[in-house]
Amino acid sequence: MTSIVKISNLEKYFGRLHVLKNISLEVPERQVVCLIGRSGSGKSTLLRCINFLEQPSKGTIEVDGIVVHGGERGRENRQLVHDVRLKTGMVFQEFNLFPHMSVLENVIEGPITVKGMDREKAIKLGEEHLDNVGMLFKRDEYPNRLSGGQKQRVAIARALTMEPRVMLFDEPTSALDPELIGEVLNVMKRVAKEGMTMIVVTHEMGFAREVADRVIVMAEGELIEDARPTDLFSNPKDPRTKALIDRYRSGEQQ
């Protein structure tokens, strides 16, 4: 199987702080990877390095055949980064919908402005994706009239309308009220079922166990464990993974 995302020897410093330490990772097509770990372990930073919302200090990122070396600058590098961003869709913890645009406008903004798609075609495509996440009925509503779960579903549709090769989710349910988490996870499951390659930073162990093909545990800027969810949850090798899983288990029981 070909890898869509290939990270080699990635290093990231924030000033003196060493947040990602020599990370190498390959994600094959159609795989769903969950990145878990305590806060501050570097999982969000790793995700954000893939589409260069954070600039890697060293190492290479390869997305669908486009190779970008970290720490480089200049026009050529900017073009490559732009190409990588077209291949990746991102969903944020805080949704980040554009508040001055309606739901549909949010979704078609990317294809029209970035890809130069004509409006009618973009609307057709946008409506299709809104329908897929069950949000077509709010097509002309503005984001401030939506619940958190609805906002996140629109944000997922917005990213999918760009037809990316890989979807990046940065704690997509962490800002949601508990009763709204389910609808977003269901949409994500659907996206996974349709064969999208997904990298998901999450605290939702249930989702990781049920949907992920692979769970990667991070601690102190390193990948400490990388396994199938059944193996990882039943037989964690690293004591830090065990501690993490135990904490979630006790949380679930409460």
Binding site: N51, L53, H82, R85, L86, T88, G89, M90, F92, E94, N96, L97, F98, P99, H100, M101, E109, G110, T113, V114, K115, Y142, P143, N144, R158, A159, M162
Partner: protein, 282 residues
């Protein structure tokens, strides 16, 4: 289910009751404020009516104004309204452009641009508006630059307000969260697309109400331009006829009424605009 919906109805009507009481209180308050305004206005009119009023042993004698002068010069002074509005509109347009540029300059990481922006704001805010107006009318001609009165006035007012309003636009730009930029970038937008499509529309919406306030202030500050004698707006016209016929009192009262009326209308429009923007708060 049935029980619950019944309970909800009771709660709802209680909330409605509370709301009604609150609204009644508010209406009552507003009515009293309106009445007090009316009385204050009546006193003011009485004070300039020339009538005397005796309460007990105390007699108030009203100021007598020359109604003949007012009638004769009303249309002349009113003729300055258009000029006042014209100079204000042109100046606010210039000020908005300068303010936006200055605000963007403040965000620049390129030192000369940042410096230019802060230099402009510092220079303009560090000198009086009155001086700036005279600079354009009196100092520039010495260098051989003679501007038409209106243009010089608009330049002075626009430059001055632009420096003050740059803060408004800066606040508007910084009101747009980092997440908005990141979402745009993640979609693949270039920095200029991000600015045009995502940041500016939100920043400008944020800036509309305070810009309205600045415009109202500007209609009054435009009176300073009269000092140069080249723009025949409200203030110039009222001082001209007032001085010539030694009826400054009447002339200034007339101008004051025009300014006051104008700002009341503009403030009303401004509050309407603000509620409309708040409703569509997106």
């Amino acid at each position: 289910m049935g029980i619950f919906s019944g309970k909800e109805q009771v709660q709802k009507s209680q909330a409605e009751l509370l709301y009604e009481v609150q609204m009644r209180k508010e209406r009552h308050f507003r009515a009293n404020v309106g009445l007090s305004w009316f009385i204050l206005l009546l006193i003011l009119i009485l004070a300039f009516s020339g009538q005397s009023l005796t309460i007990g042993s105390v007699t108030f004698r009203g100021i007598k104004v020359d109604t003949g002068f007012i009638a004769n010069n009303l249309s002349f002074i009113a003729g300055g309204l258009g000029e006042t509005i014209r100079i204000s509109l042109m100046s606010i347009a210039l000020a908005m452009i300068l303010a936006l540029l200055a605000a963007l300059g403040r965000l620049s990481t390129f030192p000369p641009i940042y410096a230019l922006s802060t230099f402009y704001v510092s220079l303009i805010r560090g000198t009086p508006l009155y001086l700036q107006i005279f600079f354009f009318f009196l100092a520039l001609p010495q260098l051989g630059i003679i501007l038409p009165g209106l243009i010089a006035g608009v330049l002075a007012l626009g430059l001055n307000y632009g420096a003050y309003m740059s803060e408004i636009f800066r606040a508007g730009l910084s009101s747009v969260g980092k997440g908005q930029r990141e979402a745009a970038i993640a979609l693949g937008m270039t920095p200029s697309q991000t600015m045009r499509r995502v940041v500016l529309p939100q920043a400008l919406r944020f800036a509309i109400p305070p810009v309205g306030n600045e415009f109202i202030a500007m209609t009054k500050d435009s009176a300073l331009v009269s000092a140069t004698g080249f723009v025949h707006e409200l203030m110039w016209r009222s001082t001209k006829v007032g001085r010539a016929q030694f009826h400054n009192l009447e002339a200034l009262i007339m101008a004051a009424i025009f300014y006051w009326g104008m700002t009341m209308i503009l403030s009303y429009l401004q509050s309407r605009l603000e509620t409309r923007l708040a409703k569509g708060d997106r």
